[in-house]
């Protein structure tokens, strides 16, 4: 069996670059969703908000300024092929170091702190790292800075089976309604249904990386996404919560088999600045 070597320095360098890029360059899918939103939005104040977001994205990219001052906690997903051998260092250390350098060199905000003493570490590490082993010799890094205006609005609930799918839908729409203007709408709603307590949250988070506007390949789940998006956009919250017809840019649902006793549901709310960048080494 052959293994492929990847150096820790390469990982650090790549993570550093992805932190800066993700925070300053918005994905094409999100920009297109703003443009569509501008066409669809009924409220003049809401249309004005879309124009400001487009202008903000342009300035951020041109000047290398962060799109938002909340440059988030650095969430890093790794797809690690089982035939990869990491040399000259430790995988986790290499990622943390890349985040530290990226936040320092990109003039990004340091938000990480001790949860008990609330003392800010000043370097935005540690990163939140999720490693998934995959077959072959693939090595993929995805960096998603997560702002907490929207993260704070996210929830995991374990419903009894009697709640049923209708109850789950009601809960998801209600979560967006209760979040109101706080998570910086128009939002992207990441939903995880099934698994366990932590699995539901993880698949909800991962669903946010699917391009905005792309439906789930399973038609039934895709239909559920369309239905939820329509219901959420009837809430009236609108861009920035000032009232309007575009409250969400998209809803992404992922599912996983679960236990006979439960329907775990995670709703991970993402602000309009849906930032993530990836690289394959």
């Amino acid at each position: 069996m052959r293994t492929r070597e990847i150096s820790a320095e390469d990982i650090t360098r790549t993570v550093r670059r992805l932190c800066i890029e993700a925070n300053t360059v918005l994905g094409k899918d999100v920009i297109e969703a703003y443009e569509k939103g501008l066409e669809k939005e009924e409220s003049p104040v809401g249309r004005d908000a879309f124009r400001q977001l487009l202008e903000n994205a342009r300035i951020a990219q041109e000047e290398g300024l962060p799109l938002c001052q909340d440059t988030g906690l650095a969430v890093v997903f790794v797809e690690l092929g089982q035939d990869i051998h990491i040399v000259n260092g430790d995988l986790n250390d290499a990622i943390h170091e890349g985040v530290r350098q990226g936040y320092r060199d990109g003039y990004l905000r340091a938000s990480s702190l001790d949860p008990l003493t609330r003392k800010n570490f000043g370097d935005n590490i540690p990163a939140i790292i999720h490693v998934e082993m995959v077959s072959g010799d693939k090595f993929k890094l995805l960096v998603a800075p997560k702002g907490f205006g929207s993260e704070n609005m996210s929830r995991v609930v374990l419903f009894p089976p009697a709640t049923g799918i209708e109850g789950v839908k009601r809960y998801i729409v209600q979560r967006v309604e209760e979040s109101g203007p706080n998570p910086c709408p128009p939002v992207i709603v990441g939903v995880g249904i099934g698994g366990t307590f932590e699995k539901a949250a993880l698949i909800a988070k991962k669903s946010l990386f699917r391009p905005v506007g792309q439906r789930h390949p399973n038609a039934e789940i895709g239909q559920l996404e369309i239905e939820l998006l329509a219901k959420i956009n009837q809430l009236g919250i609108g861009p920035l919560g000032l009232g309007g017809s575009v409250t969400a840019l998209d809803v992404h649902v992922e599912t996983y088999p679960t236990h006979i006793a439960s329907i775990p549901v995670a709703v991970n709310i993402q602000c309009h600045s849906n930032r993530h960048k990836e690289a394959i080494l």
Partner: protein, 185 residues
């Protein structure tokens, strides 16, 4: 924002009495930054009967924790943070003369009531437009709690800083009314 109302700090009763929810405003003058950690400290000072690190009479606090400035720049990205986290502290600061708050997201009923009582307004800036907003900031200096990093209290000089009145001194709430106007079911 041709239809915007220009206001200059410090704010007076006369200025805030004219503002109504939905009004677009352009703020110029000095405003002070403060978020969770700074508010906690300010309120501890008030509780101990000690003076605040700046004269709060007629002032606006902007809920923001900016990114660090690049070399030669005044400030980094500087958009609003969620205001509800400052709700536990807001009434006490209004009682000491605070006239305006800039942030994003809804306020608690006690805060809206305090705005009526003390004649103060709550303005929303565009959440997630930190790069755009930074262009309206002409000067920035730390006035207290430098050790808090992004959470330090800064005095910003702003010119035509765009915001919208969300809560006026008459108890109205733009988030409630805006949502009602566009709700379909």
């Amino acid at each position: 924002m041709e239809d915007a109302i220009r206001i200059h700090t410090p704010l007076t009763d006369e200025i805030v009495e004219k503002l109504r929810i939905g009004d677009k405003v352009l703020v110029s003058g000095f405003i002070y930054t403060g978020r969770d950690a700074a508010h906690k400290r300010l309120v501890e000072l008030v509780d101990k009967g000690r003076p605040l690190p700046f004269d709060i009479e007629g002032q606006i606090i902007y809920y923001v924790g900016p990114t660090p400035p690049k070399p030669g720049k005044i400030i980094g990205s500087a958009g609003p943070t969620s205001s509800y986290r400052m709700d536990p502290y807001a009434a006490l600061l209004m009682a000491r003369g605070l006239k305006g708050m800039i942030g994003k997201g809804s306020r608690a009923k006690e805060v809206i009531d305090a705005m009526k009582k003390y004649k103060a307004v709550y303005l929303a800036a565009t959440g997630g437009a930190g790069a755009l907003i930074s262009k309206k900031i002409k000067k920035a200096e730390i006035v207290a709690y430098e050790e808090l990093g992004p959470e330090a209290i800064r005095r910003l000089e702003v010119e035509d800083f765009p915001a919208i009145v969300v809560n006026d001194i008459y108890g109205h709430d733009l988030y409630e009314q805006g949502k009602k106007a566009y709700k379909r079911s």
